[in-house]
Structure formats: C-alpha cells, structure tokens
C-alpha cells in the first residue's frame, strides 16, 4: 500500500470516519452478512443435521460430480492457458489482439446462453445429434454436457492470467537457454514454468472456484437428475426449492468454504510471493 499519502491523512477525522464507516457498512450488507448467514443457517439444525445433509447419497454424488468436473476442466484450461500464453506473448503475428479479445469472450456471454448453445449443438435436434446418436453417446442432460458447459465458462481464467503476466516478463533467460542449446521443452520446464508458477496457480484458483461453483450454464444442460447429473450448486438449488433450508445451507457452506479458501490462497499469493496485483 504505497499511497497512504500525507494529504489524505490530513483529511478531517470526521471525513475519514464517515468514508471508512460507509464503506464498511456497504461491505457488511453485501458481503459480510450473507457469508455469516450461510454458516449460521447451515448449523441451525445442529451438527448432526449438518453432517447428515452432507453425507446422504445425493449429496455425496453431487460432491463427486463437482470434483470430477473440476478435475477435467481445470487441467484442460491449464494446457490451453500455457499454450495461449506462449503463443501470444513470445511471438508476433497478425490478428493477435483479435485472439486476445476472443479469449475474453466467455466473460461477456450469459452462462444461461452458454448452456443453450450446447443444447443447440448436442440436443435432440442439435447439429451433432446424428453423430452423437451413431456413437451412442449422451452429452446434454449428462456429465459430458456439464463438463462442456464448465469448459466454456471457465475458458478465459488461466489464459488471461498467464497472458497478462508473461507479457510483462523478460524473455532474456529463455533466450539465454536457447543460445546455450536447450530445446523448447527443456527451456519451458526449467526456465519459464518456475517463473510463471504463481501466476499459473492464481489462474488455476479462479478457474477452479468457477468450475466448482458454476450454476447457470450447468443448470441448463444438466437435466437435474438427482444422484446423477446434479453438481453441488444444483443440489443447493433443489434443496432450497424443497424448503429443506438447513440441508441447502449445509451444502452451500461447503461451497462457501471453497470460496474462502480460494480468497485466502489468492491473498497469500498476492502478498507472499511478489505476485502483487498487476496494474
């Protein structure tokens, strides 16, 4: 925090108090209280109810599915992110800025629309329906559809992070390695990867949080089959709509813990590893 400047500190105390107080009130109403409420409601029925809600078969299936989807989506995004980072920051070519814009595209598409797109491709009257049928696959209203929807919405996270970081990086160490005769892979593993690892981890954290928490896109393609195609967020919705609030919030608290761990890890990377918030 570099800017704790002299003029600001000379602002009259009442101004400072009003501004700090106003901000804290705003954040309490929109961030603090909802978070506290999740845990309060989760444990409102007692510890036994909480454990029961998380260990019943449908909840366990939802946890398994959410972990599976993230375990597929995150590594794919890592491979793509590394490739995009290398291609877009180590070479010049025409259409580069267009490519960067396209990588951001999923951020401006409503998750619901993302789900709809997959229905149009793989649904009953979809483009690829003949192929899907011929191969006897099930994509929408099944796990592959959920994975595809998750891939769409998490697409930019790792790549954007790496592109922004690698763009600022000096390429001299890599060039030195090439000059000394190291090949591309060796240089990547021993020179590039160690320097981008925190940035990569940062992208992975955000990507993972979104992959595990995605609701809209997954909801459209899931079919909501309990025990089969319900991820944790969808399970939360079902329980909530059945007025089973303590179970809904118990499940939600798992996701809230995921969010808090993500935030803590983010802060740790930002403050502890020179990975300051890039500007």
């Amino acid at each position: 925090m570099s800017g704790a400047g002299v003029p600001a500190l000379r602002d009259p105390p009442w101004v400072r108090h009003v501004l700090v107080g106003g901000m804290l009130l705003f954040l309490a109403a929109f961030l603090g209280l909802p978070l506290v409420l999740v845990f309060r409601e989760a444990f409102a029925g007692g510890w036994a109810t909480y454990v029961a809600a998380l260990t019943e078969p449908d909840a366990r299936a939802a946890i398994r599915l959410t972990l599976t989807v993230a375990a597929i989506a995150v590594p794919l995004n890592v491979v793509f992110g590394l490739a995009a980072g290398w291609a877009l920051t180590r070479f010049r070519f025409r259409g580069k800025s267009l490519l960067v814009t396209l990588i951001d595209l999923p951020f401006s598409v409503s998750p619901v629309v993302a789900g709809l797109m997959l229905l149009l491709l793989f649904g009953n009257q979809g483009w690829f329906q003949p192929l899907v049928q011929a191969l006897d696959l099930k994509i929408v209203f099944a796990v592959p559809g959920i994975v595809l929807a998750t891939l769409f919405v998490t697409f930019p996270f790792v790549a954007r992070e790496l592109i922004a970081f690698m763009e600022e990086q000096s390429v001299d160490p890599e060039e030195a390695a090439f000059t000394l005769g190291a090949g591309g892979w060796r240089t990547f593993w021993h020179v590039t990867l160690p320097t981008i690892r925190w940035s990569l981890l940062y992208g992975v954290l955000l990507c993972n949080a979104r992959a595990m928490g995605e609701f809209g896109a997954v909801s459209v393609v899931s079919g909501h089959i309990r025990g089969l195609t319900n991820t944790l967020p969808l399970h939360v919705e079902i329980l909530y709509n059945e007025y089973d609030f303590s179970a809904a919030f118990a499940t939600a608290s798992l996701l809230a813990v995921l969010g808090l761990v993500t935030l803590a890890a983010k802060a740790w990377i930002e403050h502890g590893h020179g990975q300051a918030r890039r500007s």
Partner: protein, 290 residues
C-alpha cells in the same frame, strides 16, 4: 477475472523490443490455442448465431420483441445499469478508503472484496434471499420501514450489486496506488481546497479505470442468473430477468424463442465488449498524454 480487470487498469506500453525468433513452438501452441478456442467457444457461438439466421427474419423479430421479452430486457438492462452505477460509487469509495486510509482490518477487507468472484452464485443467491426476506436479518428492519427487497425488482438489484462489487474496486485500486499524492499536494499548494484538488486530480485520473470497471460490472450483471433467481420472485413482466426468460423458454421446449433471446443478449454483450475496448484505448491515450 482479475486478469481483465488488471489488463484494463494501467497496462503500460512495454519498453524495448523483443527478439522472438529464438523461441520455438509457435505452431504447436498457436494450434492448441486456436483449436481449443474454436471447439469450446467459437463453435457454440456459431451454433446459436446460425440457428437464428435459419429462421425467417419476421419470426425472429417477433420473438425478440414480444411484450414479455421487452419487459425482460428492460428489467435486466435497467437494473444492471443501476447496479453498475451503485458499484461505481461504492467501488471508488472502497478503493479510496482501502488505499488511502489506514484502518484496522484493512488487509482482510481488501481480501474479502473478491468474495463475489469466489463464492458460487447459487450460494450468494440463497444467502441474499434469506438475508433480505421479510423475516430476514436485514429484510425485517427494512420491511418495518416499508421497504420490501426480496421477491421484488429491488431484490434483483441487490444480487446484481453483489456480483458486480469487485470490478470497480479492482480497476480503480491499482491506479489509485500508482497515483502520486504529491499531485494532490501540488494542487493544494496552488490554492485548491482539499475537495477541489481531490476532484481535479483524483477523480480525473480515476475516471477511465472506474468507467472500465463500471462496464465490466454492467456486462456481468446483464447475464447473471444464479444469484438472481432465488431473490427475484420471477414474475413475468415484473421481476423476470432476460436470462431467466431464456430458461423458461427452454423448459417449454421453445428452442427458437430461447435462441432469439440469447442472440439479442449476445449482440448487446458484444456491444459491451466494444465499449470496454474503447474505454481501454481512451485510458491508454490519456496515460500517454499525461
């Protein structure tokens, strides 16, 4: 998401040229990038666009401009705009306070700003719905003074403010950190009062980034679904947002209706992207000029 936020901040033009000819692997990495982009993002987008092109124009127009659809756009865009405006004001305030005023728990507050990026939207949705319900912690006192939040458009606004909260803070904060307090000091020395010097120096410098954050929050709010549907009430013509109307159409197996709505929303989102890029360019020019 921080990435776009960061890239919009104050990406300074890099000094020096790079010799890239030594780097191998362009074919492989470029191939992976474009193939993956094509399959995961562009193919689905093409599907939805071509689906609309396959319809008769009149039919598509009729579906896109039905009374219910128009009400949904009005609600979505109006509330997204209002939420982004609230986030603009409180985002600049929050960034200012976090950067300039030391107060206990500043690091914790700073870390918590990103909660809406990390907390799944469904969790936020049920938490906000419970919090602002008539018998909720905040809903009850508000109801006592005659303000109903949950299951009203005001509830939707609340959810949209939540999801858009980090954007303005995170675009403004790095600019404010880089901003030399000496400038304010200088303005003050030249006879400007504190409020005037803040307005002259700070507000002008922060405008582009605040605007970029505003656009991001707006664009996010338009498409938001998960955090809204629990608190919205979802009454057609009154509290039914555009993404929800798409889901409603899908549940009626009205794929044509859903697709037309989706494309209408996509077009507007592309417009948003364009605006973001313009704001970014403006930011750059100002950065270089000043």
């Amino acid at each position: 998401m921080n990435a776009i936020v960061a890239s919009i901040g104050t990406a300074a033009p890099r000094a020096g040229k790079r010799r890239r000819h030594l780097h191998p692997g362009f074919g492989l990495t470029f191939g992976i990038t474009t193939a993956y982009l094509g399959l995961v993002v562009l193919l689905p987008i093409a599907a939805v666009l071509l689906e609309v092109l396959g319809m008769s124009a009149r039919e598509a127009w009729a579906l896109a401009t039905s009374e219910r659809a128009l009400a949904a756009y009005r609600l979505s865009f109006g509330l997204a705009l209002a939420a982004a405006a609230i986030n603009l004001v409180f985002g600049v305030l929050t960034a200012w306070v976090i950067v300039r005023y030391p107060f206990p728990g500043r690091r914790l507050v700073d870390a918590m700003i990103d909660l809406p990026f990390a907390l799944p939207t469904a969790v936020a949705g049920i938490a906000l719905a419970t919090l602002y319900a008539g018998n909720g912690w905040l809903g009850a006192p508000l109801a006592a003074i005659g303000i109903e939040v949950a299951f009203k458009p005001l509830g939707i606004l609340t959810a949209l403010v939540f999801v858009g909260l980090p954007f303005v803070v995170r675009t403004v904060q790095p600019v404010l950190q880089e901003l030399d307090p000496v400038l304010e000091e200088a303005a003050a020395t030249l006879g400007a009062g504190r409020w005037l010097s803040v307005r002259l120096v700070v507000v002008r410098q922060l405008m582009p980034s605040a605007l970029a954050g505003f656009t991001l929050a707006f664009s996010r709010a338009i498409g938001e679904y998960g955090s809204v549907i629990f608190i919205a009430g979802n009454i057609p013509y009154v509290s039914e947002i555009a993404p929800l109307l798409i889901v409603v159409r899908l549940e009626q197996y009205d794929y044509a209706g859903a697709t037309v709505l989706a494309v209408a929303m996509l077009l507007i989102s592309f417009l948003m992207l364009l605006l973001i890029n313009l704001a970014q360019r403006w930011n750059h020019r100002r950065g270089r000029g000043g």
